[in-house]
Structure formats: C-alpha cells, structure tokens
Subunit: 217 residues, 2 copies
Amino acid sequence: MTLAEENYLKAIFHLDLESEDEVSTNAIAERMETKPSSVTDMVKKLAEKKMLIYKRYKGAQLTEKGRKIAAGVIRKHRLWEVFLVEKLNFHWDEVHEIAEQLEHIKSDELITRLDNFLGNPDFDPHGDPIPDKDGVLKRTEKKLLSELEKNHSGVCVGVKESSGGFLQYLDKKKIAIGTKINVLGKEFFDGSMVISVGNEQFFISKLIAENLYVQTI
Amino acid sequence: MTLAEENYLKAIFHLDLESEDEVSTNAIAERMETKPSSVTDMVKKLAEKKMLIYKRYKGAQLTEKGRKIAAGVIRKHRLWEVFLVEKLNFHWDEVHEIAEQLEHIKSDELITRLDNFLGNPDFDPHGDPIPDKDGVLKRTEKKLLSELEKNHSGVCVGVKESSGGFLQYLDKKKIAIGTKINVLGKEFFDGSMVISVGNEQFFISKLIAENLYVQTI
DNA sequence: TTACATATTTAGACTAAGCTAAAAATATAT
DNA sequence: ATATATTTTTAGCTTAGTCTAAATATGTAA
Ligand SMILES: [Mn+2]
Ligand SMILES: [Mn+2]
Ligand SMILES: [Mn+2]
Ligand SMILES: [Mn+2]
C-alpha cells in the first residue's frame, strides 16, 4: 500500500461510517481535497487490488480487506496522537498533522511496542476509539451535547470536529475530555444552550453543542 | 524537500565524509542502489535548488544549505533510533529500517520534544554522534580496533558496519557499546587478533577488527 | 417526457522518480 | 599518442498520482 492509497482507504472508511450506502466519488474528492477525476482513477486501482468494490456512477464500498487496512492506518494515527500528547506533552490541537505523517510508517512490531509503551490506550486525545490489532472499533455509548435536554448532564468524551480553532475554544472554556457539563437551558429556536462547567456558567451556540460528544450520567 | 531528495542528500553527506573531494555519480548510485543515470537527473535537480554544486563529469559537492538539510535528516534518524532502543526496547540491530522511515517526518517541534524526551543524547545506539540543531557533528576521538597494538586496550564506542549480521555477532561475543576490549595478540599476516572481553578470550578476524570503533584507555 | 442541472467518467497532459540503451567524455595502458 | 576501458550523460520510456476540459450518465422539475 502506498501513502496515497492508504489515505484514500482511510477517507472512504470515515465516509462509510457517516452514511450507510456506497461512498460517492464527489464525497471522496471533497474529503481528500482532490478532484473527482483523480478519485475515479484511484478507486479503479483500489478495486483491482480488491480493497473495495467499485460500480461506475454508483460509488465505492470497502471490502473486508480494505476495511482492515483503513482501520490499521487509523489505529496508527491515534496511537501516535496518544504518544505525542502523553509522552511529548504536545497539546491536543497540535498533534493531528504530525500523526498524518506517522500513520504511514510501516512496521507491525513498532506499533505493537508503541501500543504497550502507551499502556494499550482505548481512546486517542480527542476521545476517538483506537481500533484493535484486528481492526475492530469498539462502539461506545455517546451522544452529541446538542441531544441533551435541559437539566440533564453529561461528561465530555470526545469531539466531532477536531480543528485547532474548535479545540482552542474548548480550552478557553475549560472543557476537556472528562469534564462534566450541565445543561441549564436550551433555546429551541436556534439550538443554543446555557451550560455550566465547574463554577462557570455560559452560553454556547448550536455549532459547539453539535461537535461535542458526551456520555450521560 | 521530498523523501527522495532527502535520501540523496544524506547519501552524498556520508560519502563526503569518507573522501575529501567531490562525490562521483557512480558512488552515489551504488550507495543509493539506483542507476547512475537516475543520479545524474537528481543531482541536476538538487543543483538547481542550491543544495549542491554539480560539475558535469566531475561530481557533486554539498553547499552549506545542502549539508544542513542532510545533517538534519541524520539527526532525526539517530534520535529515532535512540527512541526505539531506549523507550520501545528494540534491539540495536532492529532499528535502522524503521528509522529510515521516521527520519522523513517533518516537524521541528517534534524533534525538539523528542530530543528532550530522550535526555538530549549525544550518540545513537550504534555509537554514531547525533548532529545538533544546527547540523554540527561532534567529532570524537576514536579509532578502529584493528589499529590497536598488542597489549593495548580500548572501550568499544561504536560500529562502522551496522548490518544485522555484524551486530548479532557482537552480541554473541558479548561486545556492546561500553565494553572493554584487550588485545592479547595480533597476527601481522592477516590482521586477525586474539582479544579478551570480560572473562572470555577469543580470536577475531581482521574484518571484525576493522568495523569496531574503540577509544583507547 | 423532455430539458436542464449535477455527478461521474474519459481523454490527454504534467511532474517526480525511476529505468535501459546509446552516445560522449574521461582515464588508463600500451 | 593511440586504443581500450570506464564513467557519466543523454534520449526516450515507464509508473504513480495529479490536473483540466470534454463527454457521458443520472437525477429532477416542468
Ligand atoms: Mn487526528
Ligand atoms: Mn484524533
Ligand atoms: Mn541507522
Ligand atoms: Mn545508527
């Protein structure tokens, strides 16, 4: 697998989670920041390698083989992110770009040892689950903060968006993985909320609430 | 700098240390395991980028710019090797291939933090010096074991060859970085030696003696 | 059902990095 | 100094991955 092939598989894997049926050429192109024509070429190649099933004008669907390789790359990405944050003290908004590079290092032994060195973590610094050796992704019970009703509470377990800007906003508001959040009010009209975090109480927009995962308590 | 460009610069840097004048096309090709015609293309490109000075039919010479980039890649390679051995408990004969990949990860911050995490080591697991941030390579006083005379002693400080086979031979003989070696006898005719290491006493061929660096005591 | 809009594929071109085979320059040995 | 051998370069092809522009298929709305 080349670096480009791995990135395509990863993108298709993620898109597959977001919607059930086959993944469209344009969706892949948008996610990869490439042109649809480039995607067509690549999915044809990946289809030849039995990584996915491709039907002209329909889209792509990962095979078990392709799914496993994608999960392996995601596993590496997330383990490296844990390393960067836990061992090198990077901040959670600084690790993604570096992990994008590290995820392509090829050595099974390396990943096994890294995993052990890190204490076999289950989640990455953004709360995303780390696939196991066989590519199995543990599904956890989590919902978006926006789904909580007034007077309900949750513990932050992850972020949907993990752009620098969003993560820095959360820092400013003292929200991190493990932080308890109480919904004090919810505006039906625009989906905004008033929440309390620790002793602070403030307003958040719908956009924020829709990008924070919580586990209800 | 692409991965290929970095590898060429690294090869030329190493060849430059081994002999004073400009580095020949064939020498680069041999070291890179590519064809001379490919080397010609690449050195032209690197010359355009001011990484080296290239004179047709003469060879290549790194500029300060090229030398610094090469040293940076070597710095990364050796720091990662230290990480693999010290933190992930890899054996010294298993790390080179992985470091060949890791050395191309681009992030200054990563290397700064990795360096600190490792305690700012001066040498890699094979006894090779780690260039500093500015690409300066500390020259150390060391000689080949083959240069020692009978009844002299040295401490092993590095290996010239670091192939798996050679390193495994050293393990078998209980020779590692820091091991004291006494020359009990030296055969003028074939350069072989009788040495003692700890309580053991044995014969080594010239080939071995010419690939072990020692510091005299 | 026809017409328009959108999605997708095809055709053809480009760059990076490699190769082979042939040509040209340099080095060496009589 | 000439002939031969070696080294290096050039010319022309190849593959991976990308792009633009044009062609084609599919979806939608009158
Ligand atoms: Mn990430
Ligand atoms: Mn992550
Ligand atoms: Mn090495
Ligand atoms: Mn080394």
